[in-house]
Symmetry: C2
Subunit: 351 residues, 2 copies
C-alpha cells in the first residue's frame, strides 16, 4: 500500500478519541517532526501536548505556512482544519522555555518534556485520548530537570502505576510485516543470555498475549524464537531451549496461550513475515535478544520500525530515533518514523 493510500484509509479507521503526541525535548527534533507530520493527512485526529510557542517555532523552521491553534481539551484536536496543529498547552512549563537553546541539553527542556508526558498519562488513564505517541526526549536534560526516571519507559511505568508497583513492560518493535517482542534489551549479549530465565520468557509471552487482545487480536499466534543457532539443535549448541525456553512455552500453553517454539532464530522471522506476497505463520515473535528481534524489523527500512511499549494500561508508541541535536532547528529531520508511530498507535488503539 502506498503512503498516499494509507493516508486516505487511516482517518476512516481512526478511533473517535484523539491520539496524543507529546512534544518531546523542545531543543531536539521532536517539535519539528511533529510540525512536518501535520503537513500530511496522517496527522488527522492527533493533538499535540506541549507548548504553543515551541510548536510555532517548529512550524517556522519546517517551512512555515502551518497554523498552530491552542486547544483547551484534547478532543478539540479532532476538529481542526488541515495545516493546523492543535496544541494542548501544558500548565506550568518553564516560562523561559523558548530561551533554551535548540540543539543543546537544557534542564528547562527536560522539565517541559516530563510535564508533557505526565499530562499524556493522565489523559490516557482518564479515557480522553486513544493512545500516546512520544516524540524523543534527552536523558541528560531529563536528569538535569531533576526527574528520577532514566527514560520514557520507566516514567510511563511509574505514572501508570499511580503509586502501586509498576507493571512489567516489554519493548515491541513493529512494522507492517512483523511484530517482535523482546525478552531482553539493553544488556551486553553475555548478560542477556544470563537474563533469559523461565520467568522472563513466560512473562514476555503473557504480556504479548494480553497486549494483542487490547489491540483487537485475542488468541494471537505467538512464535518463540530460540537463543542458540538452530534453537540449540536438541541441546547440541546450548541448552537454554531445553532448560528454559521450552518449559516457559509449555507453561504459557497450559494457560491457554497459543505459543509455540522454540524455533530456529534464523528462520522464524521469515516465517512470521506478513506481506502481500507472503502470509505470515505467526502474529508475534518473541525474541530472546535485542538484535535477534530488531535485525529483521529494521531490515527493510529503519524508518518503518516503531517502538511500542507493551504492558502499560494504554497504547504507547514512539519513533525509533533520538533527539538528533546535531540537526535540530534546521527543519531537515525526517518525520517518517513518527508517521509510522502514529499509524501504528492508531492500529493498536483501534481494537
Amino acid at each position: 500500500m502506498s503512503d498516499a493510500s494509507k493516508a486516505m484509509v487511516s482517518p476512516a479507521s481512526s478511533p473517535c478519541l484523539p491520539l496524543a503526541i507529546t512534544m518531546g525535548d523542545a531543543c531536539g527534533i521532536g517539535p519539528e517532526i511533529i510540525a512536518t507530520l501535520f503537513r500530511g493527512r496522517e496527522s488527522a485526529g492527533c493533538v499535540v501536548l506541549g507548548d504553543v510557542g515551541v510548536m510555532r517555532r517548529a512550524a517556522a523552521a519546517t517551512g512555515g505556512l502551518l497554523a498552530v491553534a491552542r486547544v483547551d481539551v484534547a478532543a478539540e484536536g479532532l476538529s481542526v482544519p488541515p495545516n493546523c496543529i492543535p496544541v494542548l498547552q501544558i500548565d506550568g512549563l518553564p516560562a523561559d522555555l523558548l530561551q533554551a537553546p535548540v540543539g543543546h541539553v537544557d534542564a528547562r527542556a527536560g522539565a517541559a518534556a516530563a510535564a508533557c508526558i505526565g499530562r499524556a498519562v493522565e489523559l490516557a488513564l482518564g479515557g480522553e485520548v486513544a493512545a500516546i505517541v512520544t516524540a524523543p526526549i534527552h536523558k541528560v536534560a531529563l536528569a538535569a530537570a531533576g526527574s528520577p526516571f532514566p527514560g520514557h519507559t520507566e516514567m510511563l511505568q511509574a505514572l501508570a502505576a499511580r503509586g502501586r508497583e509498576p507493571p512489567p513492560v516489554r519493548m515491541m518493535l513493529a512494522n507492517d510485516q512483523l511484530r517482535t517482542v523482546l525478552v531482553t534489551i539493553h544488556l551486553s549479549l553475555r548478560q542477556a543470555i544470563d537474563a533469559v530465565s523461565f520467568d522472563a520468557v513466560l512473562q514476555t509471552i503473557r504480556i504479548a498475549h494480553a497486549a494483542a487482545a487490547r489491540w483487537g487480536q485475542p488468541g494471537p499466534r505467538i512464535a518463540v524464537a530460540g537463543l542458540n543457532p538452530h534453537a540449540g539443535e536438541g541441546g547440541l549448541f546450548g541448552d537454554e531451549e531445553v532448560r528454559i525456553i521450552g518449559p516457559a512455552i509449555e507453561a504459557a500453553r497450559s494457560q491457554g496461550i497459543d505459543a509455540s517454539g522454540p524455533f530456529a532464530p534464523d528462520t522464524v522471522f521469515m516465517r512470521a513475515r506478513n506481506a502481500p506476497d507472503h502470509e505470515g505463520e505467526f502474529d508475534i515473535v518473541v525474541a530472546m535478544t535485542h538484535d535477534h528481534g530488531l535485525i529483521p524489523v529494521k531490515y527493510l527500512g529503519v524508518e518503518q520500525g516503531v517502538n511500542v511499549t507493551l504492558g502499560l494500561p494504554f497504547v504507547r508508541t514512539s519513533p525509533d530515533h533520538g533527539t538528533a541535536f546535531d540537526i535540530a532547528g534546521t527543519g531537515r529531520a525526517d518525520a517518517a518514523s513518527l508517521r509510522a508511530a502514529v499509524r501504528m498507535a492508531r492500529q493498536l488503539a483501534a481494537g
Copy 2:
C-alpha cells in the same frame, strides 16, 4: 529482476568452463532437485558429477521427459541440448548403488557422495570446472561409508589442501541483496561469544576480502557488525567491540582492507541491503554470530539464501537445506535453493 529474466541473462554471463554439480546423497533429494533444475534454462553450462543410473531414476521421479547423457569430460556439459542432463560418471561407485533404499541412510550412498566430491575438487583444482555446487549429503551415511570428514566443508578443506595444512574457511550466506560472512557458526551463543577473538575476526575480514577479489570485486567495502546491542554503546553494554572487534578492524585497515565498524547489529544489515530501491552502503557484512548474519539473509525467503564456503581455492556454493529423506523419491522437493546456488556460483566464478 524476475526469475525468467535472470534465466535469460545468466547463460550469456556464464564462464566458458562448466559448473560442476555434485549429485549428493543418492538416497536424498539431491538427484531430484538436480533433475528439476535441468528442466529450466538455468542449468545451461552445468555438468553433474554422479551416477547415470541414479540420475535416470531422479529424472523419472520428477516427471520424466528428460534425457540423461553420459559425458566423458566435464566440458561436454557445455554442449548438451535442452532437457538433457549431462552426467560425468564417477569411477568406482558402489556397483549396487541403485539398491540403496531412497529415503534412508545407506553407506553406499555415503561412499558415492564422497567420491563425487573428490572428483569435483580434482576438476576444480585442475581448471576443468569454474565452480562447484554441492547437492546435500547426509552426515550419518558419510560416516557409515568410513569417511573421516563430518561434512562437506571439512572434506573440501582437506582435499583442497592436498596434504598440507587445510586453509581456514568461513561460511558466507548470500542472496541478491546481501552477503554476510560469519565469524562463528555452530556453537551455542555463549560459546560463540567466547570464540569472538581478535584473530578470528581479523581472519574473517581477510578471507572475505580475498574472496571478493576472486569474484571480481577487489577492495570490497566490508562492514563489521558488533556483537552487543548498539555495538556496545561505547562499552556500556559489553566491551567486545572495544577490546576485540575494533582492534581487529584497525589491523585489517592497516593491511589495506576497506573494513569499517563495529556497527550496531540491528541496522548494519539494513544499511548494506542492495536492492533496486536501496543502494547498499557495503558489499559484505561480517557478523559475529550465526543468527545475526542469517536472520537478515533469510528474512525475504529462505530459498534465496545460498551457502558459500570462502577460503577455498575455488568457488563452492550449496543450497541451504539437507537431504530431506522424508520426501526423497516423491519428486516434490523444491529446487529453488539449488537454482539460487547455481546462479550464485556463476556470479562468483565470473570474476
